[in-house]
Symmetry: C2
Subunit: 427 residues, 2 copies
């Protein structure tokens, strides 16, 4: 029934999830006191998923994106080095250069498999095959919105064309994914019928896409869970971030049995984009640390994001998970005290896993004396706890009036220390 | 049993959710074909929630934040005008100025209720009352991490102190919220015992906090759902965004029966912050458009975000929901064509609800002739479909070589049009 399908064992989560097919739950392992610290079940692939990296396809749809061949090659190599499983490229029929670039990237000899993303018709499929890609991602809109206002085709026509194109691609020996667009606003019965037919025709993956970014994690869980019971092949998912749920939706999809997640670097894509690779890594390194740390070169994340941010002339968002400038900055006194005792108190991610450092800020009115004491020790100054409390009060007083930089605070500490030494007569 | 509790009717979602206690599901209303377009049940408060806006508390813990009195007042007024239900302020014991600023903001006569956030001890509670706030948000760490590495107190001690402080605050006639810190890594039985006790003591709200940002929507749903069955009072939730799930977690909490969500403008707070007000509005205006549009002044969002971004010297992230520069920019030809026919095809949020506009980009290799035709019409040029297809090919060819600005593209269209007119002899 399911010719080229490689997802049977993998997709039900029973083969490669570690101990007896159960997903490892690190948070639970650390402190098994709460039944809600992690949720896993036999469908879950949170510890066994693949990334389809779409910076060079979805990312090219970002408002600022213009990628010439040189930057495309650089990004493809950086993604490959990071360890993504698939690299998806813009359709070769988009333009002449798009076709050439597909061929160029296919010729790089990367470990990652190369895909291109085309409309579900024979002409596009033939152009895709001519570029030498490993796989073709077919897409067609199935929602009533898209059928009415975009291509105007019936479900029967869609299915007939899909089967023809799939048969052709199978004959050419390339992997095939078939995806609907706007899956969450498509008729469920139509959708399942179509997926069942293309699964039987032998696709490697079917795709669910939240094209407008309106889905919630529970909607995702329920749809993927149902689809998992209908098809035997792998399930790919694609989430736009219009309502801020793209990372959580990817996680929910894996919990429900999806096998592949679409990402782009910093999430760049149409409108405000899709599941960002970095934020997704932040999520998954917490859920499945062993799998993520052994498979992806997390220490390359910051350089990869910087490469893409520069190419499309944007700043890395201040609040980006992991690589935002303040992602590991601790400021409130109560936090700083605990962090200095044990970083796990206020950090769910270890910055060192990403080659980064934490920073404890002491230059504000909400600092505390434990944090100040740590800085005093770093500076090699000797003070009693009483003295540290006294200088902390001074810092809070000054920070009440104007912003302080770390240099300002260090000066206050040094000058206070000098006064104390002088005053004590040990000078 | 539940003295000052105001959450009984509201919290179980049966009173104010519109029709017969069922939450309105707009997405489902638009196209009722899929059972997964929306998930609702009798516990859900997605159509009936309150916002506790914490830019002036959590936001002050953001690395870059230094708020003087003037900017605090400006932000408080802007939040009030936007329509948030509560404004939470930094503890008055943090510094002398913090105390004074609490008093100043309490004296502004805003519609929003004013809260301050203090450690669960009598000294802090007394200082809070002295500022004139409407309510006091008590917090204490209950996870084994925090009990070991932060305050070192036993659960019995925590409960005894909490009851004393709550009794005192009730006597002073202020609202009380009691929250744990790091709730998802706390012992569930300890947590439920404590919440049951403070509920019986008459708090208005108990709080759940994902202090480290490690929770997922299913973990949130399960914990809030359980708590909903244990306490009668309202349930407030607070989600950090370290793993990119803070918006989805807030939505899941409401689905499970939480009543109040903590936000800050642009999410500013410790590390990379908490649920951002704007992204949360994007999520909720899709889930519950009538409730959100009637209650919050969405058109003020951009000005509010700009005010706070300027105050803490950050840029609004390029990918911010709603207000990111490209949140309503459409680029791929297939998208642009459909958007021009009906914006709902590729937009789940109407930009006009936020006083914003959509933009269809045509200056790229992935544009299509329908999008170009629309621009041709906007410019008042007359071309046949064949001519539009011809000039589209030209644009794609040029955009293959170098980035094009909209001015460039307009010049191409005008010059092509002039040539055609000249060539046709109608000149």
């Amino acid at each position: 029934m399911c010719g080229g399908c490689n997802g049977g064992a993998e997709a039900n989560g029973s083969a490669a999830n570690g101990t007896n097919g159960r997903v490892q739950h690190p948070v639970q392992n650390r402190s098994a006191s709460s039944p809600y610290q992690s949720v896993g079940d036999y469908l879950s692939n949170v510890g066994n998923f693949k990334i389809i990296e779409s910076t060079l396809r979805e990312g090219e749809q970002f408002a600022n994106a213009f990628f010439d061949t040189e930057i495309k090659v650089k990004i493809a190599k950086a993604l490959d080095s990071f360890g993504v499983d698939f690299i998806e490229l813009t359709s070769p029929v988009a333009s002449e250069q798009s076709f050439k670039d597909c061929k160029t990237i296919c010729g790089l000899g990367l470990k990652a498999k190369i895909l291109t993303h085309v409309r579900c018709n024979m002409e596009d499929a033939k152009a895709a095959v001519a570029t030498g890609v490993d796989g073709v991602d077919l897409v067609i809109g199935t929602s009533s919105f898209l059928r009415e206002f975009s291509h105007g085709k019936s479900m029967a026509y869609i299915q007939k064309t899909a089967i023809e194109v799939i048969e052709y691609l199978k004959g050419e020996g390339v992997q095939v994914r078939f995806s609907s667009e706007d899956s969450f606003r498509s008729d469920l019965v139509d959708l399942l019928s179509l997926y069942k037919a293309v699964d039987a025709a032998g696709v490697q993956r079917v795709g669910i896409a939240d094209t407008v970014g309106g889905a919630t994690p529970r909607m995702v869980y329920d749809l993927v869970r149902t689809l998992r019971g209908v098809v035997h092949c792998d399930i790919e998912t694609h989430f736009h971030d219009d309502t801020g749920c793209a990372v959580a939706n990817a996680h929910a999809a894996l919990e429900a049995g999806a096998t592949h997640i679409d990402t782009s670097v910093l999430g760049i894509g149409e409108r405000n984009g899709i599941t960002p690779l970095g934020a997704f890594m932040a999520r998954m390194v917490v859920t499945s640390p062993d799998y993520v740390k052994s498979k992806y070169n997390l220490k390359e994340l910051k350089a990869l994001e910087t490469l893409v941010a520069d190419a499309v002339q944007i700043n890395i968002p201040f609040n980006n998970p992991v690589t935002g400038f303040c992602a590991f900055t601790h400021k409130a006194g109560i936090h700083a005290k605990a962090i200095l005792n044990n970083p796990s108190t206020y950090e769910i991610i270890n910055p060192e896993d990403f080659g980064l450092n934490r920073y404890v800020s002491i230059s504000s009115r909400i600092t505390g004396w434990n944090a100040v004491k740590s800085r005093v020790d770093q500076l090699g100054l000797k003070m009693s706890d009483e003295q540290v409390k006294e200088v902390t009060a001074k810092i809070k007083q000054l920070a009440d009036i104007r912003p302080l930089a770390i240099d300002d605070t260090d000066s206050i500490l040094r000058s206070f220390h000098a006064e104390q030494v002088e005053g004590s007569g040990t000078y």
